[in-house]
Symmetry: C2
Subunit: 545 residues, 2 copies
C-alpha cells in the first residue's frame, strides 16, 4: 500500500529514492545540508513550540465532551494513513504539521480516558498540575538514579513519599520517619515485582542458612481469585512456578474478599506438602469489584508462616486521603509493603506509583548495585543517602517526585479529599439510581467510586448463562449508543463467581453529576430497547412453537 | 526541626493543628470549604499555568550555562527547607509559588544533565520536540495497554518502532514487516528483563518436554565483565542464581569486547557440568568504555547451545542512524532481540527504550495475560492486533510512541544523523587534544562519542595503584574546578582491567565545540597543578630522607 509522501519536501530525496541511506562521512558534516533547527534545545524555539502545545492541549480539554469516548475504528486504520518510513528531512513547518496530524489523525483514533463519560477500567486521573508537572520533568530531564546524580531529585522524592504517606494515613512504620521508606515507580506491576523479589531473596537466604534443601521451586505465593493479573505476572517474572501461585477462591457472601481462614488452610496444606509460603498479595479495592481484603487478619495468618505481606491499593489507595476510609487498611502496621497509583485517582497523571516498605534494606539487598562507574559523591560520604536505583527494577528513572510534590502543594490534602469525595458521591448517586430501578441489581456493595450492576434476568429467559449474555449485549449497546457518538458513556465489565456485570467507575476529573445521570439514562434506554426486542423474540418463538 | 509554615495560609488550620485529620462526611461535602480550583482540568487554568511552565523551561534552557553542572550541597539540604507534611489547603497563588520554589530551591540542587558541560555517564539527550512530546503525552493521558484501550496509540507504536528500526538499519527480521516486532518501554533494564523471562520460559518448556530433570536453578546466563549491571539485576529478578551469571573477562588487547572463544569455552564448561546455557547479553557500546561485542560471532556460539542472544545498545544504538556505524552490528540478523535507549542520544527525552524481538510470540507466552475484565473490542475480533500489555512487565503504560513519532517527524533521519555526527566529531576533537598532550593517554580507542583517557603516571610515582589515585584526584579536581562554579565540566570515571580512567561522554544537546575545548583546558590546568603539587611533595620527601 503506497503511503502518501506527506512528510517529504519534494526537493529532497527520500531514503527510498536514495538507495536507503545517505553516507556523509563525519568529516564532511559541515558540507552536508544543515538541519532545519541547529540547536534542538533552543530556548526561543522551545517557547514558540511550547505555547502551541499548551494551546493544543487546552483546546483538547475544552472539546473533550465532543469526542466519542471510544473511537469507531478497525485495526490498521492509522497504519494505512502513515508512510512506512520516517522522513529523511522534515517538511517545512514540520512541528505545526505534526500537531495538525495529531489533531486530525491521532486524536480521533484514541479512547479518551479524560472524557467525562469514561467510566471503564479505573480512571487515569488527570489535572492541569499533574500534566504540567510531567512537562516540567521532561523539560528539566535529569536522571536521579543516585543521590549524586541529582541530589534535589532524590531528596524531594524522600520528602514527598513521606508527605503522601501521611496524607493517606499510612502507619509510620512505612515512612522514612519511622524506619521504613518509600519511592516512586511507574506502575503497581513494578512495585509488586520489587517487593516479591526482595521477599524471595530474603526467604532463599533464610532457607540456605537452615540447609533445608528447599529452593526457588518450592516457594508459594498467595492471592485471591480477584487479585489483579499484575501479581501473577510479577510472580512469573520472579521465577515462581506457575503452579505455585495460589488464587484462593472468594465468595459473594464475603464481598469477594480474601478469606483469612482459607488463606491459612492453603498455607498449611502447602507446608504439609513440603512447600514454603513466601508472599501474600492483599488487595484494597480489587479491579473487578473494588473488594477489600482484611489486612489485619491476613497479616496474622502470614506472620505464622514468615510470609511477606504486600498491600496492592492501586486504585483505592487514593481514597485513604479521606479519613472516613481509613478503616479499610486497619492493621496495616503489620504489612511489609504497600503500593498505590497516584496516577489512577489522585490527579497525578500517568505514571506515578508510590511504594512504601517497612524494611528498605530488604529491597536494597535484592536490587542493589555496586559498580565503579557509579559516581560516589564526596559530599554524600558518611551520610545515610538513598540511591533509588537500588529500590527498583530500573536504573534510569524520571523525576516523578516533582510532579507529585506540585500536585500535593497546589491542590492541598483537602483539595484531594474534595476530588475523591465528589467521585464517591457521584458513584453513590449512580448506585442509588440502579437500586431504584427494579429491572436492575447492584451486584456488589460499593466501597469506593466503582458500581457493579446488571440487569436482572427476566423470568422468561432463565439461567445464569442467558443473563450473562443479556448483560454482555447491554454493555455493547451502551458503549455504542448514539452510534458511538459523543453522547455515549464508556463502561467495562467484570465476570466474578460466574456472574457477568457492568462496571461504572467514576473518576474522570471532568465528570460532573450530569454525566452520571446521562450515563444512567443511556443504560436504562438501551436496557428497555433490549428487553423489548427479547419480548418480541419470545412472542415470536411462542407463536411458532 | 520545625519547618517554615510557608505552605499554609494562616487563616486555615494545618493538619497538625487540627489533630491530623479533618473528617468531613461525604454527604456534607457541599458544606466544606470548596477547593481553590473546582475543575482540576479546566482549559483556561491549564492555558494560564501551561504558558508559565513553558516560559519557565525556556528560561532554564537559556540560563543553562550559568549553573554549575553539579551542585555543592550536602545530604539533607533540601529536606531541611521543606515542611514535613503536605499543605492542607494551598496557599494563595500556589502554582506560581511552587514554580518559584522549583527555581530557588530545587534547580540549584540538581545535577544539570542538559548542561553543555555535562560529560558524565551517558547523555540524557533532550530536545524541544522530545520535551514537548512528553508534555503532549501527559496532557492527553491515555493508557494504551490494549489496542482497544486506545487504538491509535497502539498503531502509532507499531508504526514508529518500524520507522526507528529502519532508520537504525536494523535487520528486517526484527521489524513487524519481517515477522518480528518492537515496542517502547521505559528503560533497557525492562527490555533485558522481558527478553530474559521470555527466553527462560521457552527454555524451561523445552527442558520439561525433554524430561531432562533440569530446572531454573540449572540455567546459566552470560555476559562480559563490561556488561552493564542492568543485566545482572535482570537475571537476579528473573530468578537466575547469582552464581549462574558468568561475567567473561575481557582484555585490553580485544578493546574490552566479549571474546567468542571465551564465551564458547564458558558454555562448554557449563554443559559439561550439567548446566544449561540460556542467554547471552551482548553489548554494543559498553557503559565504561564504549566497547563493542562481536555480534555475529557471539550469535554463532550461542546458536550451538540454543541460547537466546540479546543486544543491549542502550547508548550506541542511536549511532546506528548513521550508516557509517552499521558495521558494529554486523550479523544482527541472527539475534533474538535488540534494545536501545532513544532517550540517551536520540533527542527523545527520558524515558524511551525501544525493544525489538525476532519472535514476539515468545514474549507474549511469558508475559501475556488473559482476563475477563480486559475489554475485547468487537472491531478487533479476527484481526492480528497487538496488545502491548503482553510485551512488557507493566500493564499501565504511557503513550511514548507519540513523542518518538514527533521526534522522527520533526527532525527527520538526517537531522538525527547531524546530531549524532556533531557529537562524534566533538569527541574526536577531544580525543585528538588528549593525544597531542604527552602527559596523557587515551586508554581505549574511541568508537562513538565517549573518550576514555588518563594522566600517565610520572616515573617518579610508579605503580598502577598510584596512577589510579592520581587520576581519581584529577577527576575530583576537574569536577570541582572553579569551586564547582559554572565553568567546570562534569565527567565521570571507569575502572577497567585495574585501570582507573576518566570518561568524557559528549552528547548533551547544548554542547558546542567551545565547551569541549574549555573542558580540555580545565583538565590540563588541573593536571598541571596536581603534577606540580606532587613534584613539590616529592622534592620535600627527597629533602627529608
Amino acid at each position: 500500500m503506497a503511503p502518501p509522501s506527506r512528510y517529504h519536501d519534494n526537493r529532497l530525496p527520500t531514503p527510498q529514492q536514495n538507495g536507503g541511506v545517505v553516507v556523509v562521512p563525519a568529516e564532511e558534516e559541515t558540507e552536508a545540508p544543515l538541519p532545519q533547527c541547529e540547536n534542538q534545545l533552543d530556548p526561543d524555539e522551545f517557547r514558540r513550540q511550547g505555547h502551541q502545545v499548551i494551546d493544543f492541549i487546552a483546546d483538547y480539554y475544552a472539546r473533550m465532551g465532543d469526542y466519542p469516548v471510544h473511537p469507531s475504528v478497525t485495526p490498521g486504520f492509522l497504519h494505512r494513513q502513515l508512510p512506512d518510513h520516517a522522513p529523511s528531512r522534515p517538511e517545512p513547518h514540520a512541528f505545526a504539521a505534526a500537531l495538525q496530524d495529531v489533531r486530525d489523525l491521532i486524536l480521533p483514533g484514541l479512547t479518551h480516558w479524560q472524557s467525562p463519560r469514561h467510566f471503564a477500567h479505573f480512571p487515569a486521573s488527570s489535572s492541569t498540575v499533574g500534566a504540567l508537572g510531567e512537562a516540567l520533568i521532561a523539560g528539566i530531564n535529569v536522571v536521579p538514579f543516585t543521590w549524586a546524580a541529582s541530589p534535589a531529585a532524590t531528596e524531594l522524592e524522600m520528602v514527598v513519599v513521606d508527605w503522601l504517606g501521611k496524607a493517606l494515613h499510612l502507619p509510620g512504620s512505612l515512612l522514612f520517619g519511622g524506619g521504613g521508606g518509600g519511592t516512586l515507580l511507574g506502575t503497581s506491576c513494578e512495585a509488586i515485582l520489587c517487593t516479591l523479589v526482595a521477599a524471595r531473596d530474603r526467604k532463599l537466604a533464610d532457607i540456605a542458612a537452615r540447609s533445608s534443601g528447599k529452593g526457588i521451586e518450592d516457594l508459594v505465593v498467595y492471592c485471591s481469585d480477584q487479585t489483579h493479573f499484575a501479581f501473577h505476572k510479577a510472580a512469573r517474572i520472579a521465577g515462581i512456578r506457575r503452579e505455585n501461585c495460589r488464587s484462593v477462591a472468594t465468595r459473594r457472601g464475603d464481598m469477594f474478599a480474601l478469606s483469612p481462614a482459607d488463606l491459612d488452610a492453603a498455607m498449611r496444606a502447602d507446608v504439609d506438602a513440603g512447600m514454603v509460603p513466601l508472599f501474600v498479595c492483599a488487595t484494597v479495592g480489587t479491579t473487578q469489584t473494588g473488594a477489600v481484603d482484611p489486612v489485619r487478619e491476613l497479616c496474622a495468618v502470614a506472620a505464622a508462616h514468615g510470609a511477606w505481606v504486600h498491600v496492592d491499593a492501586a486504585y483505592a489507595g487514593s481514597a485513604l486521603v479521606c479519613p472516613e476510609f481509613g478503616h479499610v487498611i486497619d492493621g496495616a502496621e503489620a504489612v511489609d509493603s504497600f503500593s498505590m497509583n497516584a496516577h489512577k485517582w489522585l490527579l497525578a497523571n500517568t505514571d506515578c506509583c508510590a511504594l512504601w516498605v517497612a524494611r528498605p534494606a530488604a529491597l536494597v539487598a535484592a536490587l542493589g548495585t555496586e559498580q565503579e562507574y557509579i559516581l560516589k559523591d564526596a559530599a554524600a560520604a558518611g551520610h545515610d543517602v538513598v540511591d533509588y536505583k537500588d529500590w527498583s527494577i530500573t536504573l534510569t528513572r524520571r523525576f516523578r517526585a516533582l510532579k507529585l510534590w506540585l500536585v500535593l502543594r497546589v491542590y492541598g490534602v483537602e483539595g484531594l479529599r474534595d476530588h475523591v469525595r465528589s467521585h464517591v458521591r457521584m458513584a453513590a448517586a449512580f448506585e442509588g439510581m440502579v437500586r431504584d430501578d427494579a429491572r436492575f441489581e447492584v451486584v456488589v456493595t460499593r466501597w469506593f467510586s466503582l458500581v457493579c450492576f446488571r440487569l436482572r434476568s427476566p423470568e422468561s429467559l432463565g439461567g445464569e448463562k442467558a443473563a450473562n449474555e443479556l448483560n454482555r449485549r447491554l454493555l455493547e449497546e451502551v458503549n455504542n449508543a448514539t452510534g458511538g457518538g459523543s453522547g455515549a458513556p464508556y463502561m467495562s465489565s467484570a465476570m466474578v463467581g460466574g456472574v457477568y456485570m457492568l462496571r461504572c467507575a467514576v473518576g474522570s476529573t471532568l465528570t460532573e453529576d450530569r454525566h452520571v445521570r446521562e450515563a444512567w439514562k443511556v443504560v436504562q434506554d438501551r436496557a428497555a430497547s433490549l428487553l423489548r426486542k427479547m419480548e418480541i423474540i419470545a412472542c415470536w418463538e411462542v407463536a411458532n412453537q
